[in-house]
Symmetry: C2
């Protein structure tokens, strides 16, 4: 029986925990807000709805320690993955007895939490036969995918921010300490680097906006090279359109402040007959960057340092978008030329376990590769500041309308 | 020396008239608001900037009486064209001495105003040679193009409204009397049918919105058959999208209430990732219809009767849009199957002059042709009423933002 984090069936259990514990105590204790898609709630659901299987269950494993156990016979959980179970005391870095009681399980049914980068074990004869991997291959304790990406992108020091651009845009940063992290209101985890913290905020659906433009305005469909050429065409369109997009203002279709009180807060505003789809492309890049600045401003307002941003994923491939982000946020943006930061981060942690690197940061330094460093354009600063103010005012107006 | 109504050079002269007469007295006296593109202001400009030519000018003719004069040697102006010179007393139907004085000309320099449909004269030998038209061909006093269209579409009775859909959408209706017309705030002319009045309001740029979608979202460009196929595709898209356009709200890019205080009030709102360009197409048709209802509501609020709407021009060719207009306005919409209402109206007036018809209305009855009559869909009434309220609230919000 497996549950994904998108699985909302445990809504009743989340309500029950909320009623007995309250939202804020759970958030401060575990680092994560009370949502129905986390293991605490899923296990409680399982206990209530499948009592026989629940009673017969020997262990409750997650994807990572389940696979680790099948490969090596050893049980080992890592801190950043454990942070998202809502079963761990974030400050202590260990399973919390009271939360285990809510779930109805015992400590011995979970894997012990050990640092990322320690050796879990070696691949057994049986696992070697099943997987084709050489017997005795070292298996090292990894990390949650966002934290692997943080390791692979060097976002392990306070002041650094990782922006992973997919359908959602996910911000990951490194608060100075747990208290700063918790006061930011972001989702807090123990970092893959021991002693460091991580704070995550997701702008869900923001990144999907350009994909929408590609599909519905740029002729869409297609895959592979054909689709990449459409992205190139959109980049060209945005590049040849001056800052301000001819006045067109774009509000992201999901995950933005405009949508915070309504299901559909997106839109193109200030449209005139003289505008073309080029303006729409530029407006999307600027609007999403404004939304991002808003989130980063809120982070900074709670004491999280933002000295530079490392951008990875789809939007980072654009020759235009990262510079727009740098210009609107007034923050230097680094775009690594090596792709797949998460995979590289996992490999770095494996290297730490294998003794290739003294620690994850040494691994990043060794495998960093060339980077494209973009400085904010001073000449655009005032213009974009005014545009950002206009963006916020409009998004608030839209939110008030939907509410 | 010729001036078109788009020629704004006489802005200073309009300001001068405004300062000495005031906007409202001019509007009540002439039926038309004081704008810098009308002959009163153009002639005053000509007097000031070209004093020698002005002093030497024997006559001041407009396109219609100039051509009539060249064809027949006779001077004859029609009431609906004279209404738009800002030199005519709308109530009296004759040139106004005080206005002529402002322009600096004398009555003998203008053609006498005679009813539409009277004979101007016959084509002279010289004109026959120059044009290839048979000598002695009858030339009949016509009307302003919008009023020719009104005659050709049967919009000559109170309660009837002509909607001419081009880049702008132009509403022409028949107020019961001059006082009702003037209190509507619309631009008032004497109708091509004697004793009737006409009131015009232009929603400038509203109709251009769908053309914008075709050009910038539907792959655009092309002409003739190819372009018509794109319109067909947009019609299909709008037809397969249910009323409400999935919640997408469109504000016209020009000429709408949202744009009344700013240069660019257009936009697509409530956009979600799940929307496609089909929703944009339907949203444009519904949004423009909401804007139209707003204008028609304002007409009705001032006492102008609106019993039915006759739709001609680009949008009338759509198999979807006229029904959306009928549904959102709760007014029956007639779409004549015969095209080119203005040309037909001019021909009807010629027929009146030639004695083929007793009057313009008899001519329309004879040449009416088949019509597509669309009734408002009762089942959609409440839904569209709510959408219209939402549309108005949003347009007002946008206007307040721009102001």
């Amino acid at each position: 029986h497996a549950f994904s984090w998108l699985d909302q069936r445990a809504d009743e259990e989340a309500k029950h925990v909320r009623a007995t514990w309250g939202d804020e105590p759970i958030r401060v204790l575990t680092g994560w807000p009370l949502i129905s898609g986390l293991p605490l709630e899923h296990i409680a659901w399982f206990r209530r709805h499948c009592p026989a299987q629940f009673a017969a269950a020997e262990r409750f494993l997650f994807v990572n320690d389940f696979i680790g156990c099948r490969l090596t016979g050893q049980l080992c959980m890592d801190p950043s993955d454990a942070s998202i179970t809502q079963l761990m005391n974030i400050a202590a870095g260990d399973w919390d007895e009271r939360l285990l009681e809510v779930a109805g399980i015992e400590r011995r049914q979970l894997s012990p939490i050990q640092p990322s980068g320690v050796i879990v074990g070696r691949i057994t004869q049986e696992a070697a036969a099943a997987t084709g991997l050489p017997q005795d291959t070292l298996v090292v304790n990894g990390a949650h995918d966002q934290y692997c990406a943080a390791v692979g992108a060097g976002v392990t020091w306070p002041g650094r921010v990782l922006l992973s651009c997919g359908t959602a845009w996910v911000l990951l940063t490194v608060p100075e300490n747990l208290a700063t992290g918790l006061s930011s209101g972001m989702a807090i985890s123990r970092h893959a680097v021991e002693g460091r913290w991580g704070a995550i905020r997701s702008l869900g659906g923001v990144g999907a906006s350009l994909e929408w433009l590609l599909d519905h305005v740029w002729g869409g469909a297609g895959a592979g090279k054909k689709r990449e050429r459409l992205y190139d065409a959109i980049d060209d369109a945005a590049a040849r359109t001056p800052p301000g997009a001819g006045g067109v203002l774009f509000l992201p279709m999901a995950g933005g402040h405009a949508a915070s009180y309504g299901p559909a807060g997106g839109g193109f505003l200030n449209l005139a007959i003289s505008h073309t789809r080029d303006h729409l492309a530029r407006a999307i890049m600027e609007g999403t960057a404004c939304e991002l600045r808003w989130a980063v401003d809120e982070m900074q307002a709670t004491g999280i340092e933002v000295a530079e941003l490392t951008m990875v994923g789809g939007a980072a491939k654009s020759p235009v978008w990262p510079q727009i982000v740098a210009d609107i946020l007034h923050v230097p943006v680094t775009v690594p030329s090596l792709k797949d930061a998460a995979t590289r981060g996992a490999a770095i942690l494996a290297g730490v376990g294998a003794g290739c690197f003294s620690d994850a940061e040494a691994g990043f330094a060794a495998w960093r590769g060339p980077e494209n460093r973009l400085s904010p354009t001073v000449a655009h600063r005032q213009f974009y500041d005014e545009r950002y103010v206009q963006y916020q005012a409009t998004a608030r107006l839209m939110a008030s309308r939907a509410g």
